[in-house]
């Protein structure tokens, strides 16, 4: 009988695919845990910096850094787009890029020109197809992104901001809600928003070495870099979570497919046996 062998090879190939997706699911699960740890590990640094920065801003009100809330008319805006390097993670990147396209279209309708910075090869590939002015890129950050891989990319954007080539910088990345949910999010990076303006309870100030301005400049750059780093780490946690879910449903689908094929195979085998018996019986009757 013709079908049985074909079906058997098909089942075997689906089984091996299922093994791969299952392995990927488990790898993603363990990587996700690590990425989440990295996410929480980077928080104290940024929090501490924000504390010091807001103190400095209050203590030296005469010096306003251009990164801090200044009202500029928006003409050109920069987007730092954080995506994953690899695919097979469900709709994570396409959702993110769709969200970006919607935002960019709105801004273009308002006469604001966008420029981009791509982090992750998926974003880079997107801009290759989509066009758009690309200022910088960083790809292949791996599972353990390092801040030094991001410094250059962030600096390109900050330089453009300081040179007044762009009037605001947004960071586009996925927000980790929980394992099942990741939400594409566009956050404003520069000018730093939401600065607390409450008066100090009593006046105290640091001794600065060498002076407040230098310290504040150094802090602000590092703070912004750490925000980008956090977005990258968060996105990598999202990537792993999305991959885990995608691979789980792929394994489940493979299981269903195998079940169905097994049924078809059994039927074909049974039909072949029945046919053979009837042939033998009719042959014997003829003798």
């Amino acid at each position: 009988m013709a079908g049985a062998k074909e079906i058997r090879t098909k089942i075997a190939s689906i089984k091996s695919t299922q093994k791969i997706t299952k392995a990927m699911q488990m790898v993603a699960a363990s990587k996700m845990r690590k990425a989440q740890e990295r996410m929480s590990a980077s928080r104290p640094y940024a929090e501490k910096m924000l504390q010091v920065i807001s103190h400095l801003a209050k203590a030296t009100p005469e010096y306003r850094h251009s990164f801090m809330a200044t009202e500029r008319e928006l003409k050109r805006v920069g987007y730092i787009v954080v995506s994953s390097d690899r695919g097979l993670c469900g709709g994570l990147n396409s959702n993110l890029l769709r969200r970006l396209v919607i935002d960019v279209k709105e801004r273009q309708a308002a006469g604001i020109e966008p420029v981009f910075c791509a982090i992750g090869s998926k974003a880079l590939g997107f801009f290759k197809r989509f066009g758009g002015q690309l200022l910088g890129q960083a790809t292949h950050l791996g599972d353990k992104p390092h801040i030094e891989d991001l410094i250059g990319t962030v600096k390109v954007m900050l330089d453009a901001y300081e040179a007044k080539e762009i009037d605001a910088i947004f960071i586009v990345g996925n927000e980790f809600v929980n394992t099942m949910t990741q939400r594409p999010l566009i956050r404003q990076l520069v000018p730093i928003a939401g600065e607390a303006r409450d008066p100090m309870p009593y006046h105290w100030d640091y001794i600065y070495e060498p002076d407040a301005r230098t310290v504040l400049d150094a802090l602000l750059t590092r703070y912004l870099e750490s925000l980008v780093y956090q977005a990258v780490v968060e996105n990598s946690a999202c990537e792993q979570a999305a991959r885990m879910v995608a691979m789980k449903s792929a394994s489940d689908n493979a299981g269903n497919l195998i079940g169905e094929l097994q049924l078809v195979y059994n039927k074909a085998r049974q039909a072949a046996i029945t046919q053979e018996i009837s042939e033998i019986v009719s042959g014997a009757a003829a003798v």
Binding site: P44, L134, G136, A138, T139, Y206, I207
Partner: protein
């Protein structure tokens, strides 16, 4: 019991150290500083070098930092450590590198020699060597 100050050493990639200390030494921008408990509020940039934390038993712990910020308040000392070597020209090189990569990616070319990267690595190696040498001198005493 000796007076102590809480010391937190954090970097962008995670917490490095946290605990009480009787004295903290660090290489600040304008020279080495020693911070005792109840030091007045102080903030400075750090140069690449080591941060020493002395605990109540008089033991010293060394941490190599490649730069960063030192923030002191009367009962807490925070070291915001950089994980990367930072200098204006190196940052500039990194920025140029990112730009060039973007251009390359769009033009579909590959870079030949990563000069900027080599420079950064070299600078880091030099700073680390300096810190090691200092450590050795201290041990020798």
């Amino acid at each position: 019991m000796a007076m102590t100050v809480r010391v937190d050493i954090v970097s962008a990639e995670g917490a490095i150290h946290s605990g009480p200390a009787t004295m903290v030494y660090a290489t600040a921008e304008m020279g080495e500083v020693g911070i005792a408990p109840r030091h007045t509020a102080f903030i400075s940039r750090l140069k690449p070098g080591d941060v020493r934390v002395e605990n109540e038993q008089g033991e010293q712990e060394h941490f190599y930092v490649s730069g960063g910020m030192l923030e002191v308040q009367p009962n807490v000392v925070t070291v915001l450590a950089d994980t990367a070597i930072r200098a204006r020209d190196l940052d500039e090189a990194a920025a140029l590198e990112a730009k060039r990569r973007a251009e390359d990616a769009l033009a579909g070319q590959t870079a030949k020699f990563e000069y900027a990267k080599a420079q950064v690595e070299l600078a880091e190696a030099v700073a680390q060597l300096r810190a090691i040498e200092k450590l050795r001198k201290m041990k020798g005493r």
